[in-house]
């Protein structure tokens, strides 16, 4: 735990030293939301969103998307550090391997939490209802999922450390189907059968549905439990993959 905090603190320092950079990061998803939300609203009938306001349906999806984008690219920073040698120094320090990954993924989650808060606050005047406790749980769940995604991304970075484009091509090849087939941006109910079938095997689907339930104010529902299981599994698998990748690379 102490190791996690030490790594987390290190990764946070550049943000703390350059707080201006984060403002743009914060604004990006808002722009996305403002441009994409109205299109969606006009395209599909209200029933497609479970009868709730479009925003109520759309905001949790955007939050999940931010986590996926934010953490799936974290391996790139690792690749840079592998190339320059600064990662080697972490490996020679008496740090637990898992702590290195958890700390790094947590750093990616900091702007996400800020983004989530900002989005939610901005959307309230547009008919978005905030249920504080379930929403907070929703963000925790996203954190858990994000740590797993970060671990997977780091594992990929180590596996493809010889070439940078390889990392990006695998990352985006995997990322886009995952996002679309989770019903994150568009309701899949309107899509063909096979898409719905594939979505059932996508852990992201369960996380997205759990987030929607939580942001709608429901905690004690089966979808939430499924989401927690999916996030936990991603977290454990992601960290294990990261640690194994390091062991494999130093063998």
């Amino acid at each position: 735990m102490r190791d996690v905090l030490a790594v987390f603190r290190r990764e946070l320092m550049p943000i703390a030293r350059e707080p201006f950079g984060i403002i743009f990061t914060l604004l990006q998803p808002l722009v996305f939301l403002v441009l994409f939300g109205p299109l969606l609203e006009g395209m599909l009938p209200a029933e497609a969103f479970g009868g709730e306001s479009t925003w109520q349906w759309f905001v949790p999806g955007i939050l999940v998307m931010l986590v996926v984008f934010g953490t799936s690219g974290t391996g790139y920073t690792l690749q840079t550090e592998l190339a320059t040698g600064s990662f080697e120094r972490l490996l020679v320090a008496p740090l637990s391997r898992a702590a290195i990954f958890i700390g790094r993924s947590m750093r990616e989650l900091v702007p996400l939490v800020a983004q989530a808060l900002l989005i939610v606050l901005v959307m309230i005047p547009f008919g978005f209802t905030l249920h504080p406790l379930p929403a907070a749980l929703g963000i925790l769940l996203l954190g858990l999922f994000g740590i797993g995604m970060g671990g997977l991304s780091n594992a990929l970075a180590i596996a493809t450390r010889k070439s940078e484009w390889m990392f990006w091509s695998v990352q985006s090849t995997v990322q886009f189907p995952l996002i679309i087939l989770s019903g994150m941006l568009m309701p899949l109910d309107a899509g063909p059968r096979w898409m719905q079938a594939v979505a059932a095997f996508n852990p992201l689907t369960y996380v997205v549905e759990a987030e929607r339930a939580l942001f709608a104010g429901h905690i004690w529902e089966a979808v939430v439990l499924h989401g927690v299981i999916a996030a936990l599994a991603t977290c454990v698998i992601g960290l294990a993959a990261g640690v194994l990748a390091i062991r494999g690379a130093t063998r």
Partner: protein
């Protein structure tokens, strides 16, 4: 302090097995300064990576202060500082932040880490740079920061992998001054790899020459050079006087060329012997067209051990 027994490491490159380090056994005592000298690909870095727990040995063992590098890797990591070939500090971090983080990684409190960071920056002339971003530092400044980071846990053993490669002579000299001064102040054991002959020769106390994954010589630079039997004198004479010269320079190795002949002889104190030789040759009427004398270097040692020169490798 450091002890290895039959330490070996094999890599698989496709179907072929590459034996990078083959059964290396040695001991290094407290406070020693040892250079691992050898051409690229000799196994220096692989050896260092095994000693610093970055690479598990294929067979054999190594221990730092009694802690085994595979079984007690965490105990080893606490006792060593490692300065790799790359830069330890992340490029978009600030100098002082990275140093303090490194202290926290070693379990120091924030206050203690801050104090040590300030002290090391002072010792390594980094204090003025403490608020700079690492990417804006020059190569020499980064290297000094690397060394500061390697020392934050006050390790009894410091490993440096090619610490001065790519630096200009001025910066290299300055870095060496820092390394030697820190070693004197902290009485630490220092092991470094280098392919700069002059460095191994003039800066370190003990030189291990590595070639093809084995240690082929291990002694002080002086002793290694003494084994070669002293300095070399080379005399060129015109071919008419060659036979007369051969009679005088009886122990010399002779090579005949088109219109001149070269004699090469090994001797102690070439500076004292040469005037007498030249007077003798003049008295015998031999026309001397060229003279040179050379003290042996570690390259000569390497050459006599392997039949190859280290310099060719450095230039390649």
């Amino acid at each position: 302090m450091i002890e290895t027994t039959e330490l070996s490491r094999t890599f698989k490159a496709g179907k072929e097995k590459v034996e990078a380090v083959r059964g290396v056994s040695f001991q290094v005592g407290q406070g020693e300064l040892v250079a691992l000298l050898g051409p690229n690909g000799a196994g220096k870095s692989t050896l260092l990576r095994m000693l610093t727990t970055l690479l598990p040995p294929t067979s054999g063992s190594a221990a730092i202060n009694g802690s085994d590098v595979t079984r007690d890797s965490v105990a080893v990591r606490k006792q060593i500082g490692f300065i790799g070939q790359g830069n330890a500090a992340g490029h978009h971090f600030r100098v002082d932040d990275e140093l303090i983080s490194q202290g926290l990684f070693h379990g120091l409190s924030l206050r203690e880490s801050g104090a040590r960071a300030a002290d090391l920056m002072e010792k390594l002339d980094l204090t003025d740079l403490s608020k700079r971003t690492v990417s804006t530092l020059s190569g020499g400044q980064r290297r000094r920061l690397d060394i500061a980071m390697g020392l934050i846990n006050r390790p009894p053993v410091l490993f440096l992998d090619e610490p001065t490669t790519g630096m200009d002579p001025h910066n290299r000299a300055a870095l060496w001054e820092h390394i030697l001064e820190l070693k004197r102040q902290l009485n630490i054991t220092v092991i470094l790899t280098t392919h700069y002959l002059e460095e191994a020769d003039s800066m370190t106390e003990r030189v291990m020459i590595i070639d093809n994954g084995t240690i082929i010589a291990d002694d002080t630079a002086e002793a290694l050079k003494d084994q070669l039997g002293g300095d070399t004198i080379t005399i060129n004479v015109a071919s008419e006087g060659a036979d007369a010269a051969a009679a005088l320079l009886e122990t010399a190795e002779r090579t005949d060329e088109a219109d001149s002949t070269t004699f090469r002889l090994r001797t102690e104190r070439a500076d004292r012997r040469l005037p007498g030789l030249l007077t003798g040759l003049a008295a015998a009427g031999v026309e001397v067209s060229g003279v040179s004398m050379r003290q042996p270097t570690l390259d000569d040692v390497f050459l006599s051990l392997t039949g190859r020169s280290l310099r060719e490798d450095v230039q390649a």
